[in-house]
């Protein structure tokens, strides 16, 4: 497997990424879903290309959206509505 040299630069996280981290840690800590469930979204539900093209915390957000809607805690319609609101 040839993945090329590692990119070993240090990156500071953006604010939204730190927020995503806190949010997901709390959701998992509260038992809404497990790490393994989030990996299922990442590895099975996403295609290999999608997995490769999405940044680390962006993937956490996709996982949270997917799993929390599967649980019926929130609905996809609600998410889409909030996205429209957040865009403004």
């Amino acid at each position: 497997m040839n993945e090329g040299p590692l990119d070993i630069r240090e990156d500071d996280l953006k604010l939204y990424e730190r927020r995503a981290d806190a949010m997901v840690i709390l959701l998992v800590g509260r038992g809404f879903y497990t790490l393994d469930a989030s990996r299922r979204v990442a590895e099975i539900d996403l295609s290999a290309d999608e997995y490769d093209s999405i940044r680390y915390y962006d993937r956490w957000l996709v996982q949270a959206r997917r799993l929390m809607t599967e649980l019926d805690v929130i609905s996809e319609a609600e998410v889409e509505r909030e996205i429209v609101v957040a865009r403004d």
């Binding site: 590692l6 995503a20 806190a22 949010m23 709390l26 497990t34 915390y57 929130i74 998410v79 957040a86």
Partner: protein, 275 residues
């Protein structure tokens, strides 16, 4: 070795969590929006509170590799603590006053002349966050996952770490339920060093296993190159605090811009940052 460019590099540390670091980017990204949308939804449904989110964010900020370096330094100094860390690093941290209750279990693995450990999470990015803070981007990459297991010696080389061919390099796979911390080999010539002094030799990279603990001679050399006293005003990780008015350190204009500069070996290269 250290280049002038690396020595001169400044890395201002942004303590202002409230600042929107995306402000300079082009229109808000799709995922920044998704984060805001999900957060609003979860808050409105009472699944999380703003206070909890803030507390979790603050907790994350508070976790730095210094916690791990302290544990390693004390483990080097105390054989009983060393053994405890191998069995249960969270308990060992508790024994030196670092409260990490509720943490996912962590075990320490000790490097020896015969075996060098390299920690990876091949499935995702499990990492001993309570002891080391958030994992570096490269640790989370597919390239690292793949190479750590197949070609660990090559990984070390990419970090500038060379080990004798006779040393076995062993990749240790972290999981959701168990994480690992490397206790690097203690540098020679430090038998009479206090734990506080030993801490300065331990780097984050050495606790992941991509690097080694810093040799005392390297710190002395760096100080000498910067024109600093060999046993200068020290904090952990071999840092030196400079104030305005100090001269001969080679960071002239940076000291003018920042009231206090901390210069040290961060992760694996000399950097300076403002306090």
């Amino acid at each position: 070795m250290l280049t002038d460019a690396a020595v001169g590099a400044a890395h201002p540390h942004d303590h202002d969590v409230a600042a929107d670091t995306d402000a300079s980017d082009s229109p808000p990204g799709e995922y920044k929006i998704l984060e805001a949308a999900l957060r609003t939804l979860f808050l409105s449904k009472g699944l999380l509170t703003a206070t909890e989110l803030q507390a979790e964010g603050a907790a994350m900020e508070s976790r730095t590799p210094e916690l791990g370096t302290r544990l390693v330094a004390h483990a080097w100094s105390d054989p009983k603590l060393f053994d405890l860390a191998i069995d249960d690093a969270i308990a060992a941290a508790g024994a030196i006053g670092l409260d990490m209750s509720n943490a996912v279990p962590v075990r320490a693995v000790a490097n020896t002349p015969d075996v060098h450990h390299l920690v990876v999470c091949t499935l995702c990015s499990c990492y001993p966050r309570p002891l080391l803070g958030p994992p570096p981007t490269w640790y989370k990459s597919r390239a690292y996952h793949a190479k750590a297991v197949i070609a660990p010696r090559g990984i070390l080389r990419e970090f500038g770490t060379e080990l004798p061919a006779s040393t076995e390099i062993r990749a240790v796979d972290s999981t959701a339920d168990l994480r690992y911390l490397v206790i690097p080999r203690r540098p020679a010539g430090t038998d009479d060093w206090s734990a506080d002094k030993l801490e300065k030799l331990v780097t984050r990279d050495s606790m992941i296993g991509v690097g080694l603990a810093t040799e005392p001679a390297t710190i002395a050399q760096t100080r000498a190159r910067l024109g600093l006293a060999v046993d200068g005003n020290d904090r952990t990780s071999g840092c030196h605090i400079l104030g305005r008015g100090e001269e001969g350190h080679g960071f002239g204009d940076l000291v003018d811009r920042h009231p206090v500069l901390v210069i040290g070996i961060r992760h694996r290269q000399p950097v300076c940052w403002s306090v």
